[in-house]
Every structure is written in C-alpha cells, then in structure tokens.
C-alpha cells in the first residue's frame, strides 16, 4: 500500500520535471517562431519599432565560441591526458580537486577575473576578453571528461603496446588517444554547448555592440547578452525578439545534446 503510494509520488515528481521541460520548450517554440524571419537573422539591432535583427549577435557568439574552443580545448585535453596518464600523485590530486571545484564556481566570477586581468589593463571591453572567460569555463570541464574517457580505455591495449616496445608517449598518442577520441569529442561538444549558452561572464567582458564586428579587440555582441537585454527591455517588440533569439540558441544547444546522445548510443 505504502509502496504503491510512494511510487505514485515519485513518478509524479518525474512527470513534473518533464512537464516543466515541455512547458519551457513549447513557449520558446510558439513565441519564437512567430517572430522569426530572414531579416531578423541577418540584420543588426535598430531602434525600437524599426525592426532590426540579431545577425551581429550570432556572428559575435560564433567568433567568441570558436576562439574560446581554440584556446580551451587543447589546454583542457592536455590537462586531462596528464591527469589520466601521470596524475596519480599529489600534484594530480590537487589539480583534479581544483578542476572539480572550478566547475562549480559561478561563471560570473570568471567574468570578474577576466575583467581585472584583461579589461582593466586594456581599458575597454573586447571579444578577446569574452572568449577568454569562456575558455576558462571550458578548461576544467574538458579536462575532467577527457580524463574519464582515457581511463575507460582497457588496460590490456596499453600493456600490449608497451610489451611490443613502444615508448610511453607513443602508447598515449597512437593507442590510447585514438581509442578515447570519440568520447573526448563528445565531451568537447557538450562543453561547447555549455559555453555557447553562457551569459554572465560576457556581460562586462565582451559587453555588447550594435554593429557587425570582426575584430577581437573591440566590444562584441553575443546572442545570450542580446537575449538578456531584449528580455529586460520595456517594449513588447523587444520581448518578441528575445523569444526569437532564444529559439535559435536553445535549438542549437538541444541539437548538440541530442546529436551527442545519438552518437554515444551508436558507439556502444
């Protein structure tokens, strides 16, 4: 009797969570689709009432995510390889511990750090500063997933290669890394999805911009900061644009998540 009752309660919790997800996604789809068109996707922001779009924000997000990935991915993977292959000493445990706590540190703190480190000396906000904050968020995530993935590679493969006389770096590079590659790629994709949704660290590092900007030394617009500005703005037109921009952002992030899930399932 009690068991049945509790099963009812716990499944209600699960239904609740799913309902919230469905509710959020439906609102985004319905409100977003009604406001989206080609002009919106390629134009720059205009004064309220004259239309305008988020083309420069999309470009800014892409540019910053690309640079952040370019910096964060190699460092993260390098760190993960080190932790998995040589990290079973005190130095490794300190790094592992700091990486885990760094993952939980609020992203706005990373923004402050980069502000004091880059923006204050440079004297202005820039796409570079925004990309660096995203890279810092990415590094510990990628490092930890890389480590987990490498540890999943069977010991026998490693031992086999070593027994054939391969030096250790060769075993890591030619045997372990290819075997773990698809797992590392999955982790990297999820990390990219994560940073492309970050807003807080960009608010005062990349700031915003009303124009198309291809240079990393200038303030740069981003999709997320644009959503924040539109959502908190006073006009209905702005709110509609916020929903439309959200549709694009969430569509992209969900697509990555679903794709990763599909690929991961095929592998096993």
């Amino acid at each position: 009797m009690l068991s049945a009752l509790m099963t009812g309660l716990t499944s209600a919790c699960a239904v609740f969570a799913i309902a919230i997800l469905v509710l959020i996604l439906t609102y985004i789809a319905v409100r977003g689709f009604s406001a989206i068109n080609l002009e919106f996707l390629i134009d720059t922001p205009k004064p309220v009432g004259e239309g305008g779009g988020i083309g420069n924000a999309i470009l800014g997000s892409v540019l910053m995510t690309v640079l952040a990935t370019g910096i964060g991915l190699p460092i993260g993977i390098g760190g993960g390889v080190y932790l998995a292959e040589m990290g079973s000493n005190w130095f490794g445990s300190i790094v592992r511990f700091l990486a885990d706590t760094l993952i939980g540190v609020p992203s706005i703190i990373v923004g402050i750090f980069i502000y004091t480190l880059i923006v204050l000396p440079m004297g202005r906000q820039s796409g570079l500063a925004g990309a660096l904050s995203l890279a810092i968020i990415m590094i510990p995530i990628v490092a930890r997933t890389t480590e987990e993935m490498i540890k999943l590679v069977p010991k026998s493969m490693r031992e086999g290669a070593l027994a054939l006389g391969a030096p250790e770096w060769r075993v890591t590079w030619n045997i372990v890394m290819p075997a773990a590659a698809s797992g590392i790629a999955t982790g990297a994709m999820l990390a990219i999805a994560r940073i492309s949704g970050e807003t807080a660290p960009l608010l005062f590092t990349a700031l915003n911009s009303r124009f198309y900007n291809y240079f990393y030394d200038q303030p740069m617009a981003s999709l997320t900061v644009q959503i924040y500005n539109y959502a908190t703005g006073p006009f209905d037109v702005e709110h509609q644009m916020a929903w439309a921009a959200t549709l694009i952002l969430v569509g992209l992030i969900l697509a990555i998540n679903v794709a990763v899930r599909y690929l991961a399932r095929r592998r096993y």
Partner: protein, 297 residues
C-alpha cells in the same frame, strides 16, 4: 603537465586578482562591509548584508522545493521505473540542465512571474497569509517579481543537477543490499528506505552541490528577483543576490570604490561557493569513490 598546471594558475590568479582589486573596500570598511545593511553607491556607502540575505534566502527556497522533487525523480529512475522508461526520462532531466540560465530568466519573466502574481501568490496569501509569524512571508505587494519567483526559478534549475548526482549515487549502491532487504520480507518501499539510508552522505553531498549552484546562479535570478537591496520579511517583495548585483551593475561601476565593493562581493561569493563545492565533493566521494558522481561535481 603545463595544461594541468594552468588549472592551478587560474584558481590562484582568481584569488590574487580579486583580493588585490578589492583592497580599497577591504581596507576601508573591513568586516563592516559584510554586516552593513545600507547600499548607496552614490554616497559611497557599501554594506553587503541585503545581498547576502537575498542569496541565502533564495537558495533556501530553491532547496526546500527542489530536494524532495529531485529525490523523488532519482528514486523513481533507479528503484522503481523499468529501464525502458527510465532512460528517456533521465535524458529529459539532463536536457533541463542544458538549457541556458538566460533562457530560464526569459521564461521566468514572461511565464512564471505572471503565474505567481495571478495564481500561486494569491493562493499562498489566502491560505497561508493569516498564520501568525509565518504568514508574514506571504503578505505584501504581489508583482510576480521578487524573492519567491527567484527561489522557484532556482528550484527548477537545481533539480536536474541534484537528480543526476543522486541517481548516480543510488546506482552504485550494491544490488545485494536490495536483495537482502527483500529476502528478509521488507516491502519495496522499506527496501528503498534502506538504500537511501546507506547512501545518505552522498545524497547530502548532492544537496550541498545544488546549494553551491543556487548560491552562484546569476542570470535567471537577476531577471526575476526584482533587484532591490532590501531585507524584507515578505517573499513577494523584490530582493537582490550577490551574483545578480554583479550582473546588473558591474558594467556601469566606473568609480574605483564602487568597483572594488563589487569585486569584494565577487570574492565572497567565490570563496563561499568554493568551500561549498569542496565540501560536496568530499561527501559524494565518501559514498561513490571514483567514477559515479564525479562527472557532475
């Protein structure tokens, strides 16, 4: 090696830069910064208490709501549901965690806030508002934007995190324990309670981890909590959190003392979340040493 060391450089660099940049307020106000309840940047008066209060209360509301729900989902997924149902549900819960904070904020402003203003808030005021003392929580101006909305949004955001950690922990509890309990004649629910008891410290770790996220969550809260530095008994009133005052004011803070005050608050938030996360990690490791849970910590 160098890549790994970069993680240490980042953490040390954060502490050094934030301490050095908040020196003006640290040396000027000392501990009074944390206990002062006045926040008037224009007059050079900086007291962080309203923000600390707002951060703690909103996180508590979040946990009160999200802990039971997350536990329920995790128990359902690991102990009750057949694998075929559990897998897609886990995936959907993970998707909830993948939705960016700013999107929760947008949804909070235009869907949740009106709902609280027109339905939930009215309901709470009618049925709980008359109770002495406790009732004060549910009286006041109902605008939909305020502490309660912030807390509920945080609850929605922490639920997937707590759920997935608890689920991972319950999965490493050996099956022999369940079989033993069932063999001794325990009902299914009694068995579940035994499993939960054995995983207790790990579950505590999951809750602490959720607390860490709630304390530092920025965008969604900034958008729905009303951003007003006051300490009010009513949960309907607007409030402010440390993270949201940073998000809302940092770009405009030009004067040195103001900037220093904001950075010092960032430092406080950093240290608190760092300690909370480290504590959560220790708790979780005590149950699931190694793989499980580690990917979420």
């Amino acid at each position: 090696m160098i890549s790994a060391a970069s993680i240490i450089f980042i953490v040390v660099g954060m502490i050094v830069m934030m301490v050095s940049n908040s020196m003006p307020t640290i040396s000027r106000f000392g501990l009074a910064f944390l206990t002062g309840s006045e926040w008037k940047p224009a007059d050079g008066v900086f007291g962080a208490l309203p923000f600390i209060y707002g951060t703690i209360v909103s996180s508590l509301i979040a946990l009160i709501i999200s802990v039971p729900i997350s536990l329920g989902i995790a128990i359902f997924l690991t102990e009750q549901a057949p694998k075929k149902i559990a897998a897609p549900i886990s995936f959907m819960v993970e998707l909830l965690a993948a939705i960016p904070s700013v999107v929760y904020g947008l949804w909070g402003i235009f869907v949740l806030a009106p709902f609280i203003r027109d339905h939930l808030g009215v309901f709470l005021e009618t049925y709980l508002g008359w109770i002495p003392v406790v009732g004060q929580l549910f009286q006041g101006r109902l605008t939909g934007i305020g502490m309660l909305t912030g807390g509920i949004i945080l609850a929605l955001m922490t639920t997937p995190i707590i759920t997935s950690v608890v689920r991972d922990i319950l999965e490493v509890v050996p099956n022999t324990q369940r079989e033993a309990a069932l063999a001794l004649g325990a009902t299914k629910w009694e068995t579940t309670m035994i499993v939960l008891g054995n995983a207790a410290s790990g579950i505590a770790g999951a809750v602490v981890l959720g607390l860490g996220r709630a304390l530092g969550e920025t965008m969604a809260v900034t958008m729905v909590i009303g951003n007003s530095p006051q300490i009010s008994a009513s949960l309907f009133e607007p409030a402010y959190t440390i993270a949201s005052v940073l998000a809302a004011n940092f770009a405009e803070a030009t004067d040195e003392l103001y900037l220093s005050a904001l950075i010092e608050m960032g430092l406080v938030l950093f240290l608190v979340t760092f300690v909370v996360n480290a504590f959560a990690k220790l708790l979780i490791m005590s149950v699931a040493s190694g793989k499980a849970g580690a990917k979420n910590v």
